[in-house]
Amino acid sequence: MAVLRVKFTKTKRDKLAQVLWILNWISVVTGAILFSLGLFLKVELHKQGEVMAERDIQYVPNTLIAVGLIACAINFLGGKICYDCVDTTKFLRWKLIMLPYIICTFFFTFCVLVGALMCYCMHWELEESLNLGLTEAMRFYKDTDTPGRCFLKRTMDMLQMQFQCCGNNGYKDWFQIQWISNRYLDMSQKEVADRIRSNVDGKYLLDGVPFSCCNINSPRPCIQQQITNNSAHFNYEHQTEELNLWMKGCRQALLEYYIHIMQSIGLTVLITWLFELSVLTGVRYLQTSLENVLRQGDPNSESDGWLLENSFMETARMNLNIIKSLGKGNQIDTATNGDPNINVPSTSKAHYGPDNVPPKQITEDS
């Protein structure tokens, strides 16, 4: 009971081989697209790498890159095979390789599906990474003289201006961080000294934000100092003022940006997976129909093609037995103590044909 049996005439087989040749070359192109999508994601993640804490998020673009390259190679080989399959004599060259090739490609399509699913599931790790990374970046904002951290101020400023965001969750995050370095604080001033003394950790905290938080859409010049003090500025109420600073938090902004990219990439990879699966099905049909043609002997006759020769359960059982006997082949035979040269007489009664007559002893008769 074959699974999905289809009859193929000679012209149908030839046409199938030609169509599969073209589809395999299209798959090479989609493999290259997968590769470049992985590369693009890697570059985008690297661009904002300074505000991401150490997390395993690079495995997603790396998987896409590897899968893309393997897809190119597999489909290139598949194209060559399908091109030769038009001719029955050339098919003999590939006959032994085709079944392993199909099995490999089947497992490979699993990898493509896993890659697509990873794109959708990555954002939890990313959120955690961004949360930690942004907190660290803000804490070291003022350390422009510490080697290794001296560019964090610039990175943070460019990030806030480009993504139109402020702080981790919002602009109030800056109120809890000393973002002005002590180098630029005049310690002799009473106001500065008081503020530092009033804080438990001795930090200079203020209700102000860096200039990069300023919203360019604001109709009035940016208020970045004494934000919560309504009386410090004329005609200003900070609870209702929404246009003065960027209201969105940078974690949210970056997350939305990357989720958007990864959803698009994930969709493309899913479509690629479906395409690969259809190509694989076509190659399987081509392989089975050509093998049946060879079995029948006449290259011009009709032949059947199928996905599985027997039903799904039987195929699974057979394969399991094969694997079990592979395991048994390695066991030592205890009857002969492992020595195959000893002749062990069979204990069971011998059976001598239908009438069960033992052969006559040939005596030397004169």
Binding site: M161, P210, P221, F234
Partner: protein, 357 residues
Amino acid sequence: MAVGKVTFSKVEREKLAEILWLLNWISVVTGTILFGLGLFLRVEIHKWQEVMSEQGILYVPHMLITTGLAACCINFFGGKICLDCADTNKFLRWKLVMMPYIICTFFFTSCVLAGALMCYGIRSQMEESLFMGLRNAMRYYKDTDTPGRCNLKRTVDLLQIQFQCCGNTGYRDWFQIQWISSRYLDMGSSAVVDRMRSNVEGKYLMDGVPFSCCSTFSPWPCIQHHLSTSSTQDEKSQQLNLWRRGCQQALLDHYTGIMQSIGLTVLLIWLFELLVLTGVRYLQTAMENVLRLGDPESESDGWILENSLAETARSNFNIIKNLGKCYQVDDDPNINVPTAAPEEELPSQQVQVLVTS
């Protein structure tokens, strides 16, 4: 004494026709490139049009766009002609059109050259336009409630952030402008009122700049107010705090760079078009001479001009003069005016009829 005379065999003529057909199609592509370049320049100028005072700069991209489209049409037409010129019979179809076509294309290539030179020559006009435009933009920076100018604050802030510049020629330009609207000034405060009274025009001037002038390369938080009296900074460290370049210079450099590249590309396209035109001219004269000789298989001469440049100029000038003369009022052509000069004519012979008997 023909100018640039070259002899063409039949094989050479056919090869020339084929090559010209290919070159004409390449010229269609370069025409599209011209069009694309003009479009690109138009978009780039449009982005920052609000800080340019006059719109006359737009004639450069418009010229490039028109020239590009015309190049596509002319070279498409030329390709068709050259394809037919391989065959002498088909050439007869185009014989009358070819001369006007060559003259048109010659004037068209001068337009391409004019477009290239304009790209280089517009710098001074752009400098003036940017200066006036930026000055106005800064003056209306505070007028975010005036319709028609409410976006100028956003435009200037974006400009200063993107091009990393401050003010017109430098950050001090902001000291002479009231960039904080009176809506946000507390007129009840004596400090504010004093400052406004001390100014002749009643403007609230301060030694501060908008936040968009802050440099991201600066290692410390931006000091944008009390710039003249900063006690914590010295002159050297102040250099890194704000953007030092003026926006006029920044925009000018940006546009000059674009237009120099575009101008170079257009010059190369002009040389290519001239080459194609020369080839078409040779093909035309060679084919016409073949027709004059009568034998399609024979060799023929091709040239750029039949006579020397001076003679051609003179004969064309005479043609134009005669054209003018035709319009002068002549005597009534119906009256037969006997010619004054003796004509060379054979005297009518008396035909003697010999009667033969």
